[in-house]
């Protein structure tokens, strides 16, 4: 089954070897870029239709079903519509910034895909400080959001941009802190090494994925929450709260640039999902030893799709937060919880050295789980002091 696992790698090599020798490095790079762009572009198209269909299901309606079989060609139609629409630039806008914002938004996100290991030997770049790079590129999008909001010279745009930036800065902290335990235990910032560190099975069948440890579970939860906020998705989509801000920093965009923002948003979602899969869900590793025969990219794709589905599900289910709730959640719950999680991971890591009962996995489990459950309950109460109280509803007379 090895050939199936490495099919993309070997076919890529063969394609590159067709090129003249002097151009082979460049050809290899171009091929990788083309492959990533094609796959992610395809995913983008597919996700839009799946999301609309899925939301439709959740809301008890059918979703798009006119274009093609079951509405499957809807993304094509949407794309055509976007591309042929008039590109309107407000007359008072700052033209250069207005033009550059969508580009600056999408380029760093494309770059992040080069770091993800999509399968065994399938990472385009194995940077030594990959995770840090990932966050660096993610933080570059804040500037693009600011440019979009400010250059539109529209109050709604500026307000939306400011909200988005406040949200992104706030949630970058827990996002980064939630990943720290993984880095600590893998001993590396490289995504390839992190997947490597999650190899093998405990007891012969339980995979050693980070999510299957107490701190990994908590870290994954924190990561997922912060990632949702970081990619401005519901229930954290305040910057685009249409009832308050029309469409936030996107208000003055139309046509292709609007499509680019849309693309950027989905690509951001893909990027954090891919990172989540890599950091917590074992990357391209199979969940059971008997399933090792399936190719690694299949498992990555499967976990990735499951995560995307969770995001769609959350969007269809959860109501939008208020701004103060949003910031309270970040600073009073996620950040302290992530710090405690780091301590728990450190204890998990060091406890075997203490000897005695601590070497047994159940004891380590209990210890770290206890360390995390109590702060969870306590901090949860601090964020929402009325939790547990009897709910009171105000009805109209």
């Amino acid at each position: 089954m090895n050939w199936l696992d490495q099919i993309f790698v070997t076919s890529g090599h063969q394609l590159v070897s067709l090129a003249p020798a002097s151009l082979q490095p460049a050809a290899s790079v171009l091929l990788t870029i083309a492959a990533i762009m094609a796959v992610c572009g395809g995913c983008f198209a597919l996700t839009t239709i799946i999301e609309r269909k899925g939301l439709g299901r959740i809301q008890n309606r059918r979703g798009p079903n006119r274009v093609g079989p079951c509405g499957l060609f809807q993304p094509l139609a949407d794309g055509l519509k976007m591309l042929t629409k008039e590109d309107i630039v407000p007359s008072s806008a700052d033209k250069a910034a207005h033009f550059l914002a969508p580009i600056i938004l999408t380029v760093p996100i494309w770059l992040t895909f080069s770091l993800l290991p999509f399968g065994r030997n399938m990472a385009a770049l194995n940077l030594d400080s990959g995770v840090l790079f990932f966050f660096a590129l993610g933080s570059a999008t804040e500037l693009a959001v600011f440019m979009a909001g400010w250059s539109s010279q529209n109050k709604y745009s500026v307000l939306g941009a400011m909200r988005a930036i406040a949200q992104m800065i706030s949630y970058e902290v827990p996002l980064a802190l939630a990943t720290v335990p993984v880095l600590m235990l893998a001993g590396s910032l490289s995504l390839v090494d992190i997947v490597q560190a999650q190899g093998g099975y405990a007891l012969g069948f339980v995979p050693r994925w980070n999510v299957l440890t107490p701190w990994g579970l908590v870290g994954f939860g924190l990561f997922l929450t912060a990632a949702t906020a970081e990619s401005n998705r519901s229930p954290f989509d305040l910057p685009e709260g249409e009832s308050e801000l029309i469409a936030g920093y996107l208000t003055e965009y139309s046509g292709f640039k609007y499509a680019l923002f849309f693309l950027g948003e989905y690509l951001g979602l893909f990027a954090v999902s891919g990172l989540g899969v890599t950091l917590f869900l074992g990357g391209w590793r199979a969940p059971l030893p008997i399933l090792e025969w399936a190719p690694s990219w299949f498992w990555f794709g499967g976990k990735f799709s499951a995560l995307i589905f969770v995001f769609i599900w959350a969007r269809g289910t959860l109501p939008r937060l208020r701004l103060d709730q949003l910031l309270n959640l970040a600073w009073k719950f996620l950040v302290p919880m992530a710090l405690i999680n780091m301590l728990a991971a450190a204890i998990w890591h060091l406890s075997p050295q203490w000897g005695g009962v601590f070497t047994s996995p159940p004891m380590r489990w209990l210890l770290t789980a206890a360390m995390l459950v109590f702060p969870y309950v306590w901090l949860g109460r601090a964020v929402n002091p009325r939790a547990g109280a009897k709910r009171e509803y105000a009805y109209a007379e």
Binding site: D94, A97, L127, D128, L132, A136, L137, W150, S188, A394
Partner: protein, 190 residues
């Protein structure tokens, strides 16, 4: 030197961004160009093999400092361009001469340095692995690390204290809300 093209590109972005940042009229443009210069410098670090520093550079300068500057510009109403206003400090020609002098003396001293002339070989292949940096931070540089942590905390507190808005009527304003809350509670009880 064809293999040096990435370096020239990054250097051009850095210097171009810096020059634009220092010469444009619109402050927000200046800040954005400065962010570009910071990012270009990150690219140079990457070429030099300092991956970790490059990532940190982008994270800190583009992600944080540029955003801070932009916020400061908006808070001080610097985004509004007054085209009539003078942009440069007084005695600009004297200043310009001094700047030229600084530039010339720096460049001259670099070009004349005999120890730099001697190293005409290609760069050695070294990298700064993140793991080694971490080990260094936790062993030899642990005191500076703690000090920097303290400094950052102090700076954060200082920045908050400096920039916080003094509100003498803050207490007065909170009282009506307390009353309102009480009223709401009473309404709930009834």
């Amino acid at each position: 030197m064809p293999n040096n093209i990435p370096f020239y590109l990054a250097a051009a972005v850095t210097l171009g961004g810096a020059i634009a940042a220092m010469s444009l009229r619109n402050l927000v443009h200046c800040a954005l160009c400065a962010a570009g210069a910071f990012a270009g410098l990150g690219a140079i670090y990457l070429q030099l093999g300092a991956e970790f520093v490059a990532a940190a550079q982008v994270l800190v300068y583009v992600g944080a400092i540029a955003m801070l500057i932009v916020f400061a510009i908006l808070l001080t109403r610097g985004g509004k361009v007054k085209l009539t206003a003078r942009q440069t400090a007084p005695n600009r020609f004297v200043g310009f001469l001094i700047v030229l002098l600084v530039c010339a003396s720096l460049a001259g001293s670099i070009l004349r340095s005999p120890s730099l002339q001697a190293r005409t070989l290609a760069l050695p292949e070294v990298t700064a692995p993140a793991q080694r940096i971490g080990e260094n931070l936790m062993t030899a540089y642990v005191l500076p690390l703690e000090t920097v942590g303290l400094l950052l905390t102090a700076a954060m507190l200082g920045a908050v204290v400096l920039a916080i808005r003094e509100e003498p009527e803050a207490r007065l304003r909170s009282e009506p809300t307390a009353q309102r809350r009480q009223a709401l509670e009473e309404a709930n009880i009834s």
